[in-house]
Amino acid sequence: MQIQSRSIQIRRFLPSSLAAALLLAGCAGNPLRSYDSEMQGTLSLVRSGQVDAALTQLEQNNGSLFSSSGDAPKDKDGNPKETTVLDSTSGKDILYFFEKGELLKLQQSYEKSRDSWLAADEIVRVWEDEYRTNPTKVVGEIGAFLISDRTRRYDGQDYEKVFLSTKLMLNHVLLGNADHARIEMKKTFEREKLIESFREKEYDKIREAQEKQGDKTTTKDLQSNGYPLEELDSPEVRSLKNGYQNAFAHYLAGYFFEQNGEYSLAEPGYRNALALQPGSKLIREKVGSVGRAKPGPNESDVLFVLESGFAPAWKSVTVPLPVRLNQRYVATPLSFPVIKTESRGYVPATLTAGGKTLPVETLVNVDAMARRLLKDQLPGIIGRTVVRAIAKSALQYQAQKSGGAVAGLVVGVLSVATEQADERAWRTLPERLAIARAILPRGEQNVEFQTGSGLYRGKIQIDGKMTIIPIRLVDGRVYLGGQSHTFAAAGEVGAPTNATTTTAPKSSAPKSTRPRKPATRR
């Protein structure tokens, strides 16, 4: 009874608490900021081709309140380095480095993009090391959190962590650095294994914690109270093995090791990719025939990597759930995350390059991955949220008993401000990733494909034994990239090249590949 009257009081004071929440959302380092609304502007700038402006806005959104240049951390060479959350509490979080790396990649600044993602990777590695050295502690923290999910340090969603090293791997290849690409590949698959083991342990732990609390809330209860569970249950979501394994990462490994003549590593790459995308013809034709189709002396094995759209948003919905408080069940409004598709990626059926029409196949559907991840994690999120609600109500009860109405109110306001599901996610990540592949003659080639709002025509430069062409499609706008450094892969015996790796000038990213609609200049 007391609790119910308390909730009425809270509602009366809601406007003021909302104002407080808004105030809090204003400052950048604040964990309670609404990441989704913050990113909307940046994303629409990318849609209209203004990557420079998007970068500026990203910097503004992440500007530190307490920036001091004096004690800025330095990198190995003594150059000032951007502070991460690992260096100080006012440092930039992983999302900033995620988005920045992506925007820089659209500008074809692959080196800067790589550096930004390496900073993000450092944060992921801290999480990995914590888990590796003390798995029980990291898993144990899951049940212990009394505050909302969104106030925890954001280490990236599972699929983002794997995508991060996939993208780093791609950047290393684009920069012509085979050794780093190889290391990154190994890391990607170790990361997948680590996440798998973490999720298994977490699942056991949450079951155990729920049993201890005597809580039996399930996803069914959530659905019957209005949560759109059916959105997480499409055939596409069900066909995924899990919410983090990336078919493209394995395909890229297959492609890369095949070009390097390391067939025993290329084979599992294609095989794993096929296991994740059993319907793909492009993958199937490679399994069991690694090294068969080799490019000739003046040809190149070209891989088009077509990324399209933006990753979905994570939003918060409030669902009233019956929670056992003081021996009675009370309908308590609790917030849960939902996935909302924002910018569906358009994938053309074919792509024409060098006069050949190539089939384009989607390998990664980030939207489905996010839904799958949420579906798999929902039991854990429910457990955590309900346990927290029980603990909070006890706190509120205590405050009211000892400090009267005012203290109770304070706790209540805090509850409202903190009870929002985690909305943080890497938003410039593509919604879909598709590939096309062909052996093409070296030199300048025409490329053509549908964008969803007309035909795009561009030119690409093909050098070396392997060439990766990154293409980004956002609502009809095309960002066409290119290999900035070529490298002669192993096995190129007989070709009259000099022994050292040829380094094309950085400006070799062809000028003629600008999108048809030129970006608005500022």
């Binding site: 050295t133 590949m185 190994k186 698959f189 294994k193 298994e200 490994a253 390097n260 003549g261 390391e262 067939y263 025993s264 590593l265 084979e267 599992p268 790459g269 095989r271 794993n272 296991a275 192993a490 096995g491 190129e492 015996v493 022994a499």
Partner: protein
């Protein structure tokens, strides 16, 4: 009875004395962390993936099986040449099969078998030959001549396959590693052997 109780006391007192007298430091830097050197030959059971023990055991078995074969003893006597083809990896693990063939060749080499390079090492070889002959930097009487490399008479080939089964509590992996020695000219498989490994993990 008394003896037994006093003895350890005395001993520990003595030990304490000796320790305080000369504090010996291990020749290590750092410490306090979780890093230490282990036995490279220890049985490794961290995961069900192919690991160090599997590579070591397989290459050991293969080498010995090869050595026993009369053909290999003949190869040693006649100083014929061997090479390793890329062994096929039919599993879904990122496992570099050259780890096995490299070890087999290295161990055979200790017994007098000679082998030639192949695969990824070939590029370095070609590069160096070209550098010596085409760069114009080297004295002509001190360069390795092009066209003198020797082809192998036999090659090692094979495959690694696996069957994985799992249920909610157990993961069982069965590996089969097969190696063959093939006469290159005729394509005849002169020798073959296989190693089976079963690894089981429980949650």
């Amino acid at each position: 009875m008394k003896h037994t109780t006093i003895k350890p006391l005395l001993l520990s007192a003595l030990l304490a004395l000796t320790f305080s007298a000369c504090q010996t430091n291990s020749p290590t830097v750092g410490g306090g962390g979780n890093i230490s050197y282990g036995d490279a030959k220890a049985v490794e059971t961290v995961t069900t993936d192919l690991g160090s023990t599997d590579i070591q055991m397989t290459s050991e078995k293969m080498t010995r099986s090869l050595l026993q074969h009369p053909l290999v003893q003949n190869i040693i006597r006649k100083r014929e040449l061997l090479m390793a083809s890329p062994v096929q990896n039919k599993t879904s693990e990122y496992f570099d099969t050259s780890l096995i063939t490299d070890t087999v060749l290295a161990q055979l080499q200790k017994n007098g078998v000679r082998y030639v390079i192949a695969g990824a090492n070939m590029q370095n070889q070609v590069d160096e030959l070209r550098r010596q002959n085409q760069s114009g930097l080297y004295r002509s009487d001190k360069t390795a001549k092009i066209g003198r490399m020797q082809g192998a008479k036999y090659r090692l080939d094979g495959s690694v396959s696996s069957i994985t089964k799992r249920n909610s509590s157990t993961k069982d992996v069965y590996y089969k590693i097969n190696l063959q020695l093939i006469e290159i000219e005729s394509g005849i498989v002169e020798w073959s052997d296989e190693q089976e490994i079963r690894k089981t993990a429980r949650r």
